[in-house]
Symmetry: C2
Subunit: 700 residues, 2 copies
């Protein structure tokens, strides 16, 4: 559309960086006024163009014009003049436009000049507009290509796209604590607590090139919107650095060297222009996770402001922008490699602890015991917290989600887990809204799945709720549900768990690794499978074999007694229908076939609650409530009927799991967990390795 | 995957409706338990399948099975048995599955039967499981294809997609008032106020077919989530109707015939099953517009619940869902056909009113005058409200957005505009957050544009704000901005208007229709164009021509005096740079060329405010602040310098607009508006015809 008639070098002479910028030129036109009265000084940003409507300030009765400039200025006239000689005056039309640009930063103020002469009918000079130009290079840079390094002026830095061919920078919520004593999550402090804190932030580089200082009154300002300020803070290094100063050197500085630039208190602040060729490191800190009212995207702006006069606000003449997305909190399914196993020690769980120690030692992982002075008798390590992590190209660390359950273990996640490179997040619910369904035994995650062609390489979160049809019923509290849905990368599935007295999905389901098919099996508690097994025992002449044999304070029951209990059968029919409903949902939402599911022989019974409502509890230790450590399973010892000296339920479990190459360890949790309505899984927690898959590579 | 071995008719015999359902079968499998103890009664929903794992309830040592059923039952066995004769027993394997379905609704309870026999090694019968089946057809239907009629069981009814090839039902916010006295928006009442109110709601039809009543204990329940309940309410007609009852007949019923089914108080409620072939009309009412925390999508569920026993919640055995999107509020640009023009009558605006009456009469539209007892001296009709509309395939009506400005006109939108088929919406801001930028002279909308290939067939909203870089400054209040952005279909653009004392975008820009190019021109106030015109006058010997001639209390100014005022020139340079910044934004965001923009000769001057800040006001009546009525423009009479008896500013305007086929009428608003810092546009408002383009056809 524009023809270049200037005398300077052709675009192919330009360095690649500037050629890329050149393409942007038409997008970054800035209207520029010519003034035939006084010469004007204009600051120009390399990579943009100044656009002057020539007729706008032409003296009356102007008919022609001519343009002259120093060799460091380029210009284009539109519509292109017919004569190619730039010396003879060009006819002035209503829509004559002059497009002015410079390809290199100035070394000195006003080291470039352009003038326009206006002529009358007879080539008599009617006026002359003079522009003195100073050029600067400015770019605010981030790691938009997600390789862990801040590249120079990525053309995609201003938008965010998912996927392996996507782009856009990533921000972590700075939710760990560099301090170990008097700690709190770092983002609760509006200063850099230690220099090591900088590695939890995203580096942003302000690159400038130009004369020693900006012309009088011009300044650089960074700014964010009020909405974004709730979620982000920006620090800078106090002094800019000549190029090639290493990151290591920066990290040796002191905390006071990193003043706060932007926050919810200061939405806009001047940043220094250093002069020459300079780079200033800025550090961007995420303050909150995506949530119902926050999609995770943040924009940080840098503007070059032009002075007008005292009392008038400066006008921005150039704005550069970068976009970040806050990394979501990600859960880790049973199929990921364990790192640490957490259990509580209580006055009465010696037997359980012994079993767990052996299992964890055998599996080769670390066992961490929360002692009684800390747990105060609350043994439900699964329920108080969920381990997850956050990930970015430059850094990654585990983050514990603290449940609003808040039993006597409530201080454990904050006091014991939060620390350097171990983050903490919670959601505060109104006390009246918190129910048993808010315990994180009711929060699980599937292994990676593909559902009708849609890939979930990080799996899907699974929670338990009341039936949507229920006029009353318990639910996971809304603030936690909103948080989980807002993370987006492990789209949740809501199951029906309110039929259980405790109400947790881990009472009827888990996932174990498998060498074939989808890489895992879904294990479901199944009263039908239980009845089938017991009927088989009866048929084979073991009707008098006893459950609960040798347990103190527990009346043994024979297989015949169980099979003859019509009420128990009816209760289990109900339980099976509830689990089947969930089975159908899981098949649909995880894209599973029947062959991906294994039914475990587990019976339930119904207990009457105060409100005359009946809800289910496990009849014998609920084997599906297991801990999964690689190929080793820690399973509640079921105390089932013995056949030839071997528990028939254990034998069945070993047979089913053995086919997948998994090894079963049965842990006696009867008195200290089962009788308190929980099992091995409820009483433990596992921190696992993160996914190899990087969440930003998801196709959304 | 499944081979059909049943004896019933082939799929091609099925009615089209059922064939479509048949495809869904695999998605709607429900796990079903076989019981060799007691015969079971099962309710089956046509279009789904019951899936029984045959081995799960097989008696011990079962090796074979056979299936028998009545002719109205279809079944499929998987894996397919090798023998095609269904009489000889089939080998039972671990993964044998029976898929059961019925193609037609039952006439009587349990009018179908299926039995499975299990055999031992020697074909000895070990057990028999019997299912008594009753089939019903159920579908919850909406207008998912957007043709204004509720079709039957649209397979896309459960999702929402934009565009001409999109789908998904649409809901209006019931924000008009059927009542004229003691009125309030209908959605604030949780009952159907008059039967005519139903037309503001979306019809949803519950279609059922089956025996006279459902088997004992089964029931139909509708439900919504707690989150959705803030935004939607559902009523039903008290009695179902035999098919083909006309909508007219329904509308003749009484209000008490429409009980409330779902609301924020009642998230789940039983709806009657009528028996035979029946349709029940339900009426869905939107309660709130899309906003920051509400994307506009709503799901309504219908479940068929199976009884278990007293004290236990029923289990849903089938759920049908429909999705609605709440229609956004849409603004109407100057290029749309006017319907009504609103102005205020005050004690001092006789001259203005006379001009407006003539203009509106000439243009052939309706003039509505808000009299003094109502406006209490507040003449800024533009600022108190913005006209828009909401649209759906079944109904459409205008909706006024009431500004949080709340001058003395504040009751006008509610008291005078709200009514039958005239909706009302507002956003309540904290008083301290409200500034002059919240007046709706600061809220405009562009004509349809295409920007870098992206189409905005409904144009883009334009608002004015402070510069993002400003450390202090006025802004449009957040609740209104959030509302505007959430409507999505006219993606807003934020301009810089805080440099103006009043701070409204209509002080420097407007759009007029044009016969060529993009169908419109953007008009911008331009001090440079003003100076150019005045310099031309001076050059032509009219330096002594006077502005403000003949105006009482206004000192006339000559062209020479204006051109010699260096301070005024500097102030206008600043104003031009502010407008140029906006010009650059508008070009980029609306995809405009310079030729799409016309600069109008308008000068400004700066006024010092209490806080020593300077902001701009128009030097003479601000011609860009005009009213656009088709091809007739009502323009503030500028009182410019006269040349040969004709105002040079008027002549220039007529010349510029005449080229577009537009006719200029200059209205004297000097004393009654201009001196109070507003003009014709600020003092008027136009309700316009909606777009022909339907918002749901947008490509998002």
């Amino acid at each position: 559309m524009f023809q270049d008639v200037s005398q300077t070098e052709s675009p192919s002479d330009l360095p690649a960086f500037l050629q890329k910028r050149q393409k942007l030129t038409l997008d970054y036109n800035r209207s520029c006024r010519l003034d035939t009265g006084n010469p004007q000084s204009v600051l120009h940003v390399v990579g943009t163009a100044l656009k002057a409507k020539l007729n706008r300030s032409a003296p009356p009765s102007s008919k022609f014009f001519s343009v002259k400039c120093t060799s460091n200025v380029r210009y284009i006239i539109s519509p292109p003049p017919q004569e190619t000689s730039h010396l003879s005056p060009i006819p002035l039309s209503e829509n004559s436009v002059l497009l002015i640009s410079m390809n290199y930063a100035s070394q000195y103020e006003n080291d470039a000049k352009l003038s326009v002469r206006y002529y009358g009918e007879n080539n008599d000079v009617l006026g002359r507009a003079v522009l003195h130009l100073t050029a600067v290079e400015i770019s605010l840079d981030v790691d938009a290509d997600r390789d862990g390094r801040v590249e120079r002026n990525n053309p995609n830095k201003v938008s965010w796209k998912w996927g392996p061919d996507g782009h856009g920078a990533i921000l972590l919520v700075n939710c760990d604590s560099e301090k170990i004593f008097k700690k709190k999550p770092d983002h609760e402090k509006d200063y850099v607590s230690t220099v090591s804190d900088l590695k939890d932030m995203s580096v942003m580089v302000l690159r400038t090139k130009g004369p020693t200082k900006l012309p009088e009154g011009y300044k650089l300002t960074m700014h964010i919107s009020q909405g974004d300020a709730e979620s982000v803070r920006v620090f800078r290094s106090r002094s800019s650095n000549v190029v090639n100063n290493s990151l290591e050197k920066l990290f040796q500085r002191f905390v006071k060297d990193y003043p706060l630039v932007l926050s919810s208190e200061v939405l806009s602040q001047e940043v220094p222009y250093v002069g020459g060729e300079a780079e200033m490191n800025l550090y961007v800190e995420g303050l909150r996770f995506p949530d119902k009212d926050f999609d995770g995207l943040l924009t940080i702006n840098l503007s070059l402001l032009e002075p007008i006069c005292a009392g008038l606000p400066e006008t921005p003449i150039f704005t550069d922008k970068v976009v970040f997305r806050v990394a979501p909190w990600i859960m880790t399914p049973n199929t990921l490699q364990p790192v640490e196993v957490f259990v509580c020690s209580t006055s009465d769980n010696y037997q359980f602890l012994k079993g767990m120690k052996n299992l964890v030692a055998k599996s080769g992982y670390k066992l961490k015991i929360c002692h009684e002075y800390l747990n105060r008798g609350d043994r439900w390590m699964q329920d108080e917290l969920e381990f997850g992590y956050i990930d970015s190209p430059h850094h990654r660390f585990p983050v514990v989600l603290d449940s609003p359950r808040d039993g006597k273990l409530q201080d454990f996640p904050y006091d014991e887990l939060l620390g350097p490179d171990f983050g903490y997040v919670t959601r505060v619910a109104q006390e009246k809204d918190v129910s048993s369904l808010d315990s994180f035994g009711n929060l699980e995650v599937s292994p990676p799945v593909t559902v009708n062609g849609k890939k979930y390489p990080l799996g899907r979160i699974i929670i338990g709720v009341a039936f949507p049809t229920a006029t009353k019923g318990r639910n996971m509290t809304k603030v936690v549900q909103d948080f989980l849905w807002a993370q987006k990368v492990q789209e949740p599935i809501a199951l029906f768990s309110d039929w259980l007295l405790v109400g947790h999905v881990d009472e009827f389901m888990t996932f174990v690794p498998a060498p074939d098919r989808k890489g895992f099996r879904l294990l479901l508690a199944s009263p039908d499978a239980g009845y089938k097994l017991f009927r088989g025992l009866q048929y084979d002449g073991h009707g008098q074999a006893q459950l609960f044999e040798g347990l103190r304070d527990e009346k043994p029951m024979t297989v015949d007694e169980i099979l003859n209990d019509e009420s128990l059968k009816a209760e289990n029919n109900y339980v099976q229908s509830c689990i089947d409903w969930n089975r159908d949902v899981l098949k649909r939402e995880l894209g599973l076939d029947d062959d991906d599911i294994i039914d475990l022989p587990i019976l339930f019974k119904l207990e009457e609650e105060k409100n005359k409502q009946y809800r289910a509890v496990a009849y014998y230790p609920d084997m599906v409530n297991m801990i999964v450590l690689g190929k080793n399973l820690g399973i509640p010892k079921p105390f089932g009927p013995k056949v030839n000296g071997r528990c028939a339920l254990e034998a069945e479990m070993c047979s089913l799991m053995g086919g997948l190459g998994l090894s079963c360890t049965f842990i006696d949790d009867f008195a200290s967990y089962h009788k308190l309505l929980g099992e091995v899984h409820c009483g433990s927690n596992v921190r696992r390795e993160p996914f190899d898959f990087q969440w930003w590579n998801l196709q959304m």
